[in-house]
Subunit: 321 residues, 2 copies
């Protein structure tokens, strides 16, 4: 099964779940957040990996739904915390309803995650819960670190990588690993797939940081330098601050208060180019990509299938927008 | 084992859980909310019932902790929604930290609930999850209804009872039922204990409404008529509004805007006395108490033990403050 087919299988499953389970007052916002779409990347990965390991589609579909439900739960609560008015071009749940309803429907989503998981076969339930809870707690920890960083003047690169690893890497790791777990893969393969996914997630986020400023403007389709304008401390900013001399540090700090967005972005780009931070970021991204592939290499799956997974990850990690 | 001993066993277990598991940045607010104390009634019930059914203490302790964790999670998120500054005389989590941290640490608590449950024996895990999730979703639904009621002019008694049943009854029902489930009680006993607990919870909440205005002032230890002052639509208020004639309805509506709290409470009491709403509330409370006891009667446990449970519930339901 190619990943596109896994994706399609998931979308059908999600549609019938929504029709059967997400009616009623409390769950209207849950249905709404699903209606906004999204790539459904994580559930497609779980299903695809499961099928590469010759698993049972009926077993993995609910687990894939639980992963997507958790991801959407985290979007609803993160949007409150970030005071974001829009998600995928539409009103966020707390804007369409209100903050209390967004808190509460997010809570209900988290309960639904576990209600869905509780339908797993009895001998898979405990290991699936353990794997899932490990990732879920790490996602919470990552979000807490991200919020803490907003109030810190300087962040070092290690702490930043830790944060993005927790906030986005672990759930990707769990998406790969749970597909394998439900297909009776070995403990070693499950662990390697988790690490493969986690490191791929870190490399993906670093790439996202780079593309914000250095992406193909036509293809990006969003404002170039959005992170700079929002004063987000991405890996570019952190590298710049670490390498800057006294004068350049002063310029970086002054830049934060520049009101004209275009001028702000061009000032940043000028300084970042001088400091060659794109090269640093590319290098560190490659390092995590390499680590991901080392884990992939170690799994016990035939080379054709391993190459399919590698090609998929390379595709994710070489987009230009 | 008497319930006091169950309570003590729980407190010891909670203390060591907190020491071993609730350190670290993300979980400091979780440890804080536990540090505020509380009666630990629900976990004591689970343990006590489990022991009355000759269950294994080591099995029920984690389930009791999961129940108490869920209860405390709901307090953290409800306090945000209610904008409450104080909980048990101390700052609420969102006041001591901030709203985002309270949302996030509440989320982490909900994941911890399931991480604790995942340690149950394999053959108990699925039924315990099903039972627990049923109650947890109902608690969310009850909180949503409670918030909806704030924006409604009139609420009928049936809707009010539905709301308090979901918001406070179901978790009490689950506390009784899970203790029995883990001690291999029959499906019938588990269901009856759930209904017993749920109806007891409803009667308890009705009593709470009555005591707010008619409790023994010296023993209440809090402001008499606090619900009246806060314009809460309790069962007294709903009965009054249902029975009032046109003039009395006008008085009730006017009362809402009375600025002097003492005058407001005495106006309400005068009207409530004329309309005999205490008698109505007492009658409906008795009805739910009776229904609770009918379920208790049907369980397959020796009469001495059943009487202990009945005495415990009567004690809960006849306090004067």
């Amino acid at each position: 099964m190619p990943i596109e087919k896994a994706n399609k299988a998931f979308i059908n499953y999600l549609d019938s779940y929504r029709k059967e389970n997400l009616s009623g007052h409390l769950l209207a916002p849950v249905d709404y957040i699903f209606s906004l779409g999204g790539k459904r990347l994580r559930p497609a990965i779980s299903i695809w990996i499961n099928q590469l390991y010759d698993g049972n589609l009926n077993t993995v579909l609910p687990a894939a739904l639980a992963i997507e439900m958790f991801h959407n739960f985290s979007l609803v609560h993160d949007d409150i915390m970030d005071e974001a008015p829009l998600r995928r071009g539409k009103a966020t749940v707390h804007h369409k309803w209100n903050t209390n309803t967004a808190i509460l429907s997010g809570d209900a989503m988290l309960v639904l995650v576990y209600e869905i998981l509780s339908d797993l076969e009895e001998n898979k339930l405990k290991p699936a819960l353990k794997l899932f809870n490990f990732a879920a707690l790490n996602v919470c920890e990552g979000q807490q670190l991200d919020m803490d960083f907003e109030n810190q003047d300087s962040i070092n690169l290690d702490d930043y990588i830790t944060m993005i690893g927790l906030k986005t890497g672990d759930l990707l790791g769990a998406s790969f690993a749970i597909g394998a777990l439900l297909a009776n893969a070995s403990k070693e393969d499950i662990d390697h797939l988790y690490s493969f996914g986690k490191n791929t997630g870190i490399a993906f986020q670093l790439q996202d940081d780079i593309l914000d400023l250095y992406g193909d403007q036509g293809k990006v389709g969003k404002q170039v330098g959005g992170d700079i304008i929002a004063n987000k401390k991405t890996c570019l900013w952190i590298h710049a601050f670490e390498k800057a001399n006294k004068d350049q540090k002063a310029k970086l700090k002054k830049m934060i208060f520049e009101a004209d967005p275009e001028k702000k972005v061009s000032l940043a780009k000028e300084l970042f180019d001088v400091l060659k931070v794109k090269e640093d970021a590319d290098a560190i991204k490659s390092q995590y990509q390499k680590e991901a592939f080392e884990h992939l290499e170690k799994i016990d799956l035939d080379p054709t299938k391993k190459n399919m997974i590698k090609a998929f990850a390379l595709n994710l990690l070489t987009r230009e927008f």
